[in-house]
Amino acid sequence: MSVYPYLIAVWLFGVGLWGVINSRNYLHLIMCLMVVQASTYVLLLSIGYVNHGTAPIYQGISTKALVVDPIVQALTLTDVVVEATVVALLLGLVVQASKRFGSIDPDAIVRMRD
C-alpha cells in the first residue's frame, strides 16, 4: 500500500497518546511522549522520500541527480536534538518530584496533595 509508512506514523502517535493518558509512572509517561515525537519524525521523513533518490549530498554525484527532499530532513534533525533536551527538562521535573513525594506515580502525588 503506498500510504503504509504514513499509517505507521499514525499508529505510533495513537499508541503514544494512549500511553500518556493511562500512565501510572511519570517515566513511562515521558517515554510515551517520546513515542509521539518519533511518530512526527516518521511522518516528516516519509513525506520527503523519493523513489530511487539518493541522499542530498553532492559528493561525487552530479547536481542534477535525483535526491530525496532535504527540507524535511533539516526540519527533523534540529528537532531531534532539541526535543531530547526538553525531555531532559521533564526528567529533571520528575527527579524533583521523586525527591519531594517519594513516588513517581501521578495518582499517588495528587492524592498526597489533597
Partner: protein
C-alpha cells in the same frame, strides 16, 4: 528600518546568551538593569516597526533569500499592523514585569532574566513571523521558557505539578502542530504562509488540508487554553511567580488566538472560504462562548486568588475566540482592542495579587479576609481592575467589547450581546467579591468555596514586606493607566479597524510576498452606540449585584442563601473534573481534538 524585525528577536536572544556567558560574575543589579533595558529596547523597536508598517505589510527575508520563480526558499518575517501591535504589547508587559520582579528575593540572577528574555523573543518573533515552521520553532521557544519559568520556584510542591502538567500538555500540542505542518508541506510543498495560500487558492480543499488545519488550530487552542484544553492553566497560574502570571495572562493566551487568525487568514482561507466559512465560524463561536461561560462560572466558586484569576483569563480567552471566530474584519478589530484593554486589566489584577502575596504571605480569600485593609492603593487598583473587566464605560475593555458586540450584531447573532453581558458580569463579580473580602473585610469568613488555599502557597519572597516597594507599585499603576487609556481615545478603534482590514485580506498578504499591485486603504469604525453603553453599564451593575449576593447572602435572606448554595452544588461536578492529574488532562485533550476533527471533517471536508 525593516531591519528592526529580525533585531527585535535577535537582540533579546543575544543578550540572554551574553548573560549566560557572564553568569558567574554578574550580580543581581546588573542583570536586572540589562534585562529591563533590553526589553525596553525591544519595545521601542516594535513600536517603530508598527509605525513603519502602517496599513500594509513589511516582508523581511532572512539570509537574503528572496523568492525565485514563485517559490519562497527562505524564511520570512511578514510584519503587519496587528502582529507588530501585539509584539509591542508583549514587550511593554515584559518591561513592566521585569521592573516588578526586581525586588523578588527568590529570583536567581541571571537565569531568571535569561528565561524572561527568551520568552519575550519567542513571543515577539511568533507575532512577526510569516513562515509556518518558523512559527513552530518560536512557539516551542515560548513554551519551553514558560515551563522553566512556571517551575521556577521548585521548592514548592505544587509548582512541580503545575509545571509538569503544563509541559506535557503543551508538548502534545507542539507535536500536533508539527504533524499539521508535515501534512501541509506534503500537500503544498511550501512552508511560507503566503505561498501556502497561493497554492491552496488553485488546489482547493481536500482531506489533508482539513485535518492539517484542525491539528494546527488544536495546537493553538491548547496554548490559548480554550475548553476542553484549558485544564493546565489553572494549575500553572496557581504556582507561577506573579510577574510570570502577568505575562502569561496578558500575552501568551492571546498569542495562541493570534496564531489561529494568522494561519487562517493567510494560508487556509483560500481553501476553506467561502463554502466552509459559516461552518468554521459556528464552531469557533460555539467554542468561544462555552469557554467564556465555563471560565466565568468556575471563577465564581474559586477561593484561591490566582486560580480565580486563571479562570477569569480563560473566560476572556473565550470571548477573544468568539470575536476572532466571527472571521470578519470587525471581529478581528474588536478583539484586538479588547485584548489590549483586557490584557492590561488582567495584568493589573495579577500584579495586585503578587503584592498581596508579598505583603501578607497568603493567596486564599479566606486566609486574607480583611487583612488587606491597610493597602489602600492596591485596594483601589484591584477594584478598578474588577470594574474594568466588567467593561465599565468608557474605558479600554468597554471599547473592545462594544466593537465585538457590534460585529456580532452585524452577523445576525442577536443573542450574543446579552450573553456577553452576563459573562463579563460573572467574571467581574468574582473579582469584586474577592476584593471586598480581602480589602474591606466584608462577607463571612467561612463561605462555601472549597478551601484550595490550603495548598502550600507561601510568600514568593522569603520575607514579608511592611510596605509596598515602589518598583512593584509603579508597574501596577502603569497597567491601570494602560487599561483606562486604551479606550480613552476613539481613534484607537479606527487604527484597529484599518489594521484588521489588512489582516483579513488574503490577497494583500500574498501580494506583499510575490508582488502585485494592492491598494490598502484605511478603514474606520463606528463609535459605540447607545445600546453598547447600556449593555456594558448593565454588566457592571450586574457584577456588583452578584458580588453583593455572594458576600451578604446570609444577611439578605434564606432564598438568597439557597441560591448561592445551589450554585456551588451545581458547579461541583465541573469542579471535580479539574483533578490535577495529567492523564485526565490528556484524555480531555484527545477527546477535544477528536471532536474538533470530526466536526471539521463533516462540515468542511
Amino acid at each position: 528600518m525593516s531591519q528592526l524585525a529580525p533585531l527585535a528577536v535577535a537582540v533579546p536572544l543575544v543578550v540572554a546568551a551574553v548573560l549566560g556567558i557572564g553568569h558567574a560574575v554578574l550580580g543581581r543589579i546588573v542583570a536586572d538593569i540589562v534585562a529591563v533595558l533590553t526589553a525596553a529596547l525591544t519595545l521601542v523597536m516594535t513600536i517603530l516597526l508598527l509605525i513603519h508598517v502602517g496599513p500594509g505589510y513589511s516582508v523581511y527575508w532572512f539570509g537574503g533569500w528572496h523568492p525565485r520563480a514563485g517559490v519562497a526558499i527562505g524564511v520570512a518575517f511578514q510584519v503587519g499592523a496587528i502582529g507588530a501591535g501585539l509584539a509591542a504589547f508583549v514587550s511593554l508587559l515584559m518591561v513592566l514585569a521585569l521592573v516588578y520582579s526586581t525586588r523578588f528575593i527568590g529570583v536567581q540572577a541571571p537565569r531568571y532574566h535569561m528565561l524572561m528574555l527568551t520568552f519575550m523573543a519567542g513571543m515577539v518573533g511568533f507575532c512577526l513571523s510569516g513562515d509556518l515552521f518558523n512559527m513552530f520553532v518560536l512557539f516551542e521557544l515560548m513554551s519551553v521558557s514558560a515551563v522553566a519559568l512556571i517551575g521556577y520556584r521548585i521548592q514548592q510542591q505544587s509548582a512541580l505539578e503545575g509545571a509538569l502538567n503544563f509541559a506535557v500538555i503543551n508538548m502534545i500540542g507542539a507535536f500536533l502542530f508539527l504533524i499539521g505542518i508535515g501534512l501541509v508541506y506534503a500537500r503544498t510543498g511550501a512552508l511560507n504562509l503566503a505561498q501556502i495560500g497561493a497554492t491552496l487558492a488553485h488546489a482547493g480543499n481536500d482531506r489533508v488540508i482539513v485535518i492539517a488545519f484542525t491539528l494546527i488550530v488544536s495546537a493553538f487552542l491548547i496554548k490559548a487554553a480554550v475548553v476542553p484544553f484549558h485544564f493546565w492553566l489553572s494549575d500553572a497560574y496557581a504556582v507561577a511567580l506573579a510577574p510570570v502570571c502577568l505575562l502569561l495572562a496578558g500575552a501568551m493566551s492571546e498569542i495562541g488566538l493570534y496564531g489561529i487568525a494568522r494561519v487562517y487568514f493567510s494560508a487556509f482561507a483560500p481553501a476553506i472560504a467561502p463554502q466552509g466559512t459559516s461552518a468554521l465560524r459556528t464552531i469557533l463561536v460555539a467554542a468561544g462562548l462555552i469557554t467564556a461561560l465555563g471560565g466565568a462560572a468556575m471563577a465564581l466558586v474559586e477561593d484561591h486568588l490566582k486560580r480565580m484569576l486563571a479562570f477569569v483569563t480563560i473566560s476572556f480567552v473565550g470571548v477573544f475566540l468568539f470575536g476572532a471566530g466571527l472571521l470578519s474584519e470587525d471581529g478581528v478589530a474588536g478583539t484586538s482592542i479588547y485584548v489590549l484593554g483586557d490584557g492590561f486589566a488582567k495584568a493589573l489584577l495579577f500584579a495586585c495579587v503578587g503584592i498581596l502575596q508579598n505583603r501578607l504571605g497568603a493567596v486564599g480569600q479566606r486566609r486574607l479576609h480583611g487583612r488587606g485593609r491597610p493597602l489602600c492603593v492596591i485596594a483601589a487598583s484591584f477594584f478598578a481592575g474588577g470594574l474594568l473587566i466588567s467593561a465599565l464605560p468608557p474605558f479600554g475593555p468597554f471599547l473592545g467589547k462594544s466593537m465585538i458586540d457590534d460585529a456580532a450584531l452585524k452577523q445576525g447573532l442577536d443573542f450574543v450581546p446579552p450573553l456577553l453581558m452576563i459573562i463579563s458580569a460573572l467574571s467581574g463579580a468574582a473579582v469584586l467579591r474577592a476584593g471586598a473580602r480581602v480589602f474591606l473585610g466584608w462577607g463571612e469568613s467561612h463561605d462555601e468555596e472549597r478551601d484550595s488555599a490550603d495548598e502550600e502557597t507561601s510568600a514568593e519572597t522569603e520575607q514579608l514586606y511592611d510596605h509596598t516597594p515602589a518598583v512593584m507599585l509603579i508597574p501596577t499603576i502603569a497597567l491601570l493607566a494602560g487599561a483606562i487609556g486604551v479606550g480613552a481615545w476613539y481613534g484607537m478603534a479606527d487604527l484597529a479597524t484599518t489594521a484588521a482590514h489588512t489582516f483579513v485580506d488574503v490577497s494583500a498578504y500574498r501580494a506583499a510576498v510575490f508582488g502585485g499591485a494592492r491598494q490598502l486603504g484605511a478603514a474606520s469604525s463606528a463609535a459605540p452606540a447607545w445600546f453598547d453603553y447600556v449593555y456594558c453599564a448593565g454588566a457592571v451593575v450586574l457584577a456588583v449585584l452578584i458580588a453583593a449576593l455572594g458576600l451578604f447572602s446570609r444577611r439578605i435572606g434564606a432564598a438568597a442563601e439557597r441560591l448561592v448554595r445551589a450554585a456551588h452544588v451545581g458547579m461541583e461536578p465541573i469542579r471535580r473534573l479539574h483533578t490535577g492529574r495529567v492523564g485526565d488532562y490528556a484524555a480531555a485533550l484527545a477527546l477535544g481534538v477528536g471532536i474538533l476533527a470530526a466536526l471539521m471533517t463533516l462540515t468542511l471536508g
